[in-house]
């Protein structure tokens, strides 16, 4: 008997391979659907353009600036916003809802892999495509709205790293939220509450400086602002070195919390799972 021995790879290498393959699949798939991707992105651009126009109008009426933010800075904020928003597209709780309701999780459970790894890898692989498609949109928005920003090299570097941090925090939180569907089958209302909280507490709706002081204080105790406000401000907000690096640390903190939360919720949730046929 000369059976070839199964080649064993270290668990870490195996995991890295899985991520790389998921990313490759995502790139190949999303490149195919360019038109669909563009529609999705254009729909998403409407949101910040509306905020931007409204606040530029207010700024113009107030003699050029609102709470110290000028029209040009608003433009910079909301244009960078569009990139951050695209980076922040993650597997939503609705995806989990479908996966569990239709029993498709059964197949995934058979694989020797934590299911969230697949989602993380796939959506990460989507990002290069998204960034490429984003460039022309940013170019046109910049032509129209005249953004003003002058980031330091450190700010640019921190911004780049913080995008990954934002992606991870949002992915982990939404995965935990998605796992609720093991109990309820309808996640819509909970997710909507989450999105409403995110809108108000993350800098997604308006730069946090415009919020009342108590809202800003509240936001400091929650993960939301590290997924929108911080990455954007890192690039456009002229933050100090301490603020920049401290922000990355805060992101790391919320990534750790998010990872633990997903693990714990998963452990309880998966016991509840049952599928008919599948």
């Amino acid at each position: 008997m000369n059976a070839t021995p199964i080649r064993l790879v270290s668990p870490l290498r195996g995991l890295v391979d899985v991520y790389l393959q998921e990313m490759k699949i995502a790139v190949a798939q999303q490149i195919q659907y360019r038109a669909a991707n563009y529609m999705y992105m254009l729909g998403m651009v409407a949101e910040p353009v509306v905020y931007l126009v409204v606040w530029q109008t207010v700024a113009a009426q107030q003699g050029g600036s609102v709470a110290g933010i000028t029209a040009g800075q608003f433009a910079a904020y909301y244009i960078v916003w569009t990139l951050v928003r695209n980076i922040n597209i993650v597997f939503t709780p609705y995806g989990w809802e479908e996966r569990i309701r239709e029993g498709r999780l059964s197949a995934q459970l058979l694989r020797p892999l934590f299911p969230i790894v697949e989602d993380l890898g796939f959506f990460l692989g989507w990002k290069p495509v998204v960034m490429l498609l984003w460039l022309p949109i940013a170019f046109f928005l910049a032509l129209i709205f005249h953004p003003v920003l002058n980031p330091s090299p450190l700010a640019v570097a921190v911004f780049a790293v913080s995008l990954l941090g934002a992606y991870l925090i949002r992915s982990l939180n939404q995965s935990s939220l998605g796992l609720i569907t093991f109990w309820t089958t309808r996640v819509g209302p909970v997710f909507q509450l989450y999105i409403a909280a995110e809108l108000l507490l993350s800098g997604r709706l308006v730069p946090m400086q415009l919020m009342p002081a108590w809202v800003q204080t509240l936001a400091n105790f929650l993960p939301f602002q590290w997924t929108f406000g911080f990455p954007i401000e890192a690039l456009v907000g002229n933050l100090s070195t301490a603020q920049l690096l401290g922000g990355l640390l805060a992101q790391l903190f919320w990534i750790v919390i998010g990872s633990i939360l997903v693990r714990v919720v998963w452990r309880f949730a998966v016991r509840r799972y049952s599928a008919v046929s599948g």
């Binding site: 659907y33 038109a35 669909a36 991707n37 529609m39 999705y40 254009l42 729909g43 998403m44 651009v45 409407a46 949101e47 353009v49 509306v50 126009v53 409204v54 109008t57 207010v58 009426q61 107030q62 609102v66 709470a67 129209i144 309808r186 819509g188 209302p189 909507q192 509450l193 409403a196 809108l199 108000l200 709706l205 308006v206 415009l210 919020m211 009342p212």
Partner: protein, 261 residues
């Protein structure tokens, strides 16, 4: 009157179907409440910085928001469900079953699905409008009320034409699921009067995606900003939109080839 009878029939069947799931009412109410809360928070933020936005006072903007929610409800109940069904039918080849029925294809495709509980938004929109009208200084006469109703119907028909044209694209490009996202995104711009937007955007939101006619014009009727010329323009453009979308749908129909089924 045959199309109307058909629509009414489908409406009743759809309503009976949806009414079995009462819990959905509360879920929808919660969703609407969350959205309303966020919208009010934004208005609060803006008016904490400025007394009026481009000549629109807080109650006037509240009226715009009311119309926006109301129209969103109409779209959610009557327009979007059928269009989404049409889209998936074209993709899956099950559109055959519509074509074989002895009715006008466009009418049948446009009235087949409704979602009753989305109607909560219509109620919420009306309540917001009521509050806004109560706060407005100007009195509201019967002429304004009629103009408002007319503008609202015209606006809804235009949004329908827009959805029909966009959904018809499915005959050529198969995967257009994101159209819904695109529309939802763009529809958010209707929360503000289109007059605040820069020229290019205002024109797009008027003639490309008829949000100006669907939301701003009815709101103008309520806040005494509407001129007869604008209403006439809306009516004229509405007729054109209906005719063009019907013609386009017929062209698309020729492209259809049933897969499997």
């Amino acid at each position: 009157m045959r199309p109307l009878r058909l629509a009414w029939l489908f409406f009743r069947v759809g309503a009976l179907n949806d009414l079995q799931y009462r819990a959905n009412f509360w879920l929808q109410l919660l969703q609407s409440a969350i959205q309303l809360g966020t919208g009010l928070a934004v208005l609060g933020l803006i008016f904490s910085q400025t007394p009026a936005l481009n000549g629109w006072s807080a109650p006037a903007l509240l009226a715009v928001m009311g119309v926006h929610i109301l129209m969103g409800g109409v779209i959610g109940v009557l327009i979007r469900p059928s269009m989404e069904r049409l889209r998936s039918d074209i993709r899956d080849g099950t559109f055959d079953f519509v074509l074989t029925k002895p009715e006008d294809v466009q009418v049948l495709s446009s009235v087949r699905e409704i979602r009753v509980w989305q109607g909560v938004d219509i109620l919420v929109g009306l309540v917001v409008l009521g509050v806004a009208i109560g706060q407005l200084q100007e009195s509201l006469g019967p002429i304004e009320a009629v103009a408002f109703g007319v503008a609202l119907v015209i606006g809804a028909l235009m949004i329908y034409s827009f959805w029909l044209v966009v959904t018809t694209v499915a005959f050529w490009i198969v995967r257009i699921d994101e159209i819904a996202e695109l529309f939802e995104g763009v529809y958010q711009s209707g929360r503000w009067p289109v007059t605040i937007y820069p020229e290019w955007l205002r024109v797009s939101l008027t003639f490309l995606v008829p949000i100006a006619f669907a939301v701003t014009v009815p709101a103008q009727a309520l806040t005494q900003r509407l001129t007869p010329e604008t209403l006439a323009l809306a009516a004229g453009f509405g007729v054109v939109a209906l005719l063009v979308s019907r013609a386009f749908f017929r062209i698309g129909l020729r492209r259809y080839s049933g897969a499997s089924a």
